[in-house]
Symmetry: C2
Subunit: 383 residues, 2 copies
Amino acid sequence: MTPAKKYLFTPGPVSVPPEVLLEMAQPIIHHRTPAFSAALDQARERLKPLFGTRQEPILLASSGTGAMEAAVINLLSPGDQAVFVNGGKFGERWGKILAAFGMTGHEIKVEWGKAVRPEQIEDALRAHPTSKAVLVQASETSTCAIHPIAAIGEVARRRGVMLIVDGITSVGVFEQKMDEWGVDAFITGSQKALMLPPGLGIVVLSERAVDTAMKNKNPKFYFDLLKELKSQRDEHTTAFTPTVALILGLNKSMELLHAETLPRVYDRHRIMAEATREAGLALGLKLIAPDNPAPGVTGLIVGDGYDTGKLVKYMRDVLGVAVQGGQDQMKGKLVRIGHMGYLTPFDMLIAMSALEAGLKTLGYEFRPGAGVAAVQSRIARSI
Amino acid sequence: MTPAKKYLFTPGPVSVPPEVLLEMAQPIIHHRTPAFSAALDQARERLKPLFGTRQEPILLASSGTGAMEAAVINLLSPGDQAVFVNGGKFGERWGKILAAFGMTGHEIKVEWGKAVRPEQIEDALRAHPTSKAVLVQASETSTCAIHPIAAIGEVARRRGVMLIVDGITSVGVFEQKMDEWGVDAFITGSQKALMLPPGLGIVVLSERAVDTAMKNKNPKFYFDLLKELKSQRDEHTTAFTPTVALILGLNKSMELLHAETLPRVYDRHRIMAEATREAGLALGLKLIAPDNPAPGVTGLIVGDGYDTGKLVKYMRDVLGVAVQGGQDQMKGKLVRIGHMGYLTPFDMLIAMSALEAGLKTLGYEFRPGAGVAAVQSRIARSI
């Protein structure tokens, strides 16, 4: 069985709505035209409520990692100290970026699947009082767990340090309040809740961050955020050639999300995540992050002796259903099912049905249909 | 008149073939899969003849400027000296990138529309004997002129310095011989002859450049070319999330170009450029680069008292035909007609017809139909 129709449940890249694909497949327009400027302005305006900000989104032709690097090199300088939360693969990346640019990162190591506690941030800042920033993920994609950004923001404010947040799997997934929480740099990428292909990175800076960036002396050119901000805000275009199709697609995907209304979008993700957790438990699987699960992606642990690498491969190659395994220390142990992109709770029926078929090939014992039934039950309660 | 059908004759971004748009509009696939790896490998292999190299193309999720920066920061270090050719807006950009990263650029200023002479390179390297590299455009898009890379390569080899070439409007446009010419870093972008939307930067490094990059101490992360090279060559994937749709589109556009055969692709560009130059002269316009015209874009000067800004706006807004004006010192004076992307010499009939209509609104006097007739005549000689 090699089905022509494929299903994508990976936690990014995600399925893109046909309306957005068609928008991106329009004859390409030039990027120094009123038509492009109008789309850029509108897309940037439409992004603000997803971040919970009145500040200006800065669009970059880069992946999310590029946007993370941009935030770091515009706000910190070589020799600077910073505290970062390493609760998974992407938290670890903060440390690598800081080190690459000659900054000293003080790591708060958090067990995979757990949330950092605000007291840990407070303690780290006390131990390293010259630290200029805290770097953290709002949602750590590798562990399917969220960190408490509002509470971390309070600590950062009290200690007078900047707060740099990777919102790659939180912005557009659940409600974010950048301005209220006091986030100074908030980052996301196109290939998650924004329902687009990868290639577009987004950074929003607080007013304080803009002031800090003005004084920053790090060498930079492509990722000069103030140059981009000025260009996008004042000149209605980008400093360098933009990802034209992605920006037109972004404007369309934002139109779709706002038409659905953001509260309903967030409900949709939450219900998918709840349905998947309930289904996983019904199959006897364990949740990697039971106390602080991410609404954008659910991580299920199958248990010793069952290789989720094989499971994922079988689901993808034989069933045409793409989910993702674990990374690094969770390799072979975890299966991750994404809820972002062009998906509804009904799609989780398919994900779970395929997961059950995959588990069967591993010899894992469970009550057939229990996962699908749990999804169905959660859907029923939401209608 | 506001026509629904638009024509794009800008020197990038360019028209994308429907086959490529459809390929990019396919349901998105995940980037850690055998299917993506196969497309990446094939696309990278298919790129090599366009550069004239046996080395490995490195694909970046960035615009061409990002790829220029990547070449500089991987091959040069702060404090290094280099010679760069400023014969237009993009040559000037080399200087800005060098300065941004604490390198000293020795500028060879070249009149817009002229080619740099190899003796000028030789003289500059003699005057600045500690220079480590020469940076130049193979084709300077802002002035529609080409520089003699083969001869510059000879000078660079004799003086033992690296040669870094921006091939953004040369790779895929006319024959390039990276290995034979001794180019150490050859750069291009997706939005020109590769017939794709913007967002994908490409760098090819010589063996010597790879050795140099290994010793380079510049801070880098997103643009770490050796990390990308290793990932793409050995692991058949990218280090960070790639521009999936663009890479699938690249593989398709490469398939189309190779099916056409590269000699015919280069002929097609050359004939379009010749037709446009002959048409411009037939209308009494002047060529900005009569001695060394680029095959990818033709620049025509209308003359004092005629604002090409108005001309371009009229052509675009009223006729639906997009060409481009001049930049910086040529603003208002130049009109640029691109020959790259999904175009054939027949399309130049449309470009010229619209140009004639635009010139008429400016009150410019010419024999109506002379431009179109010249294109038609050139086409006839090519059939």
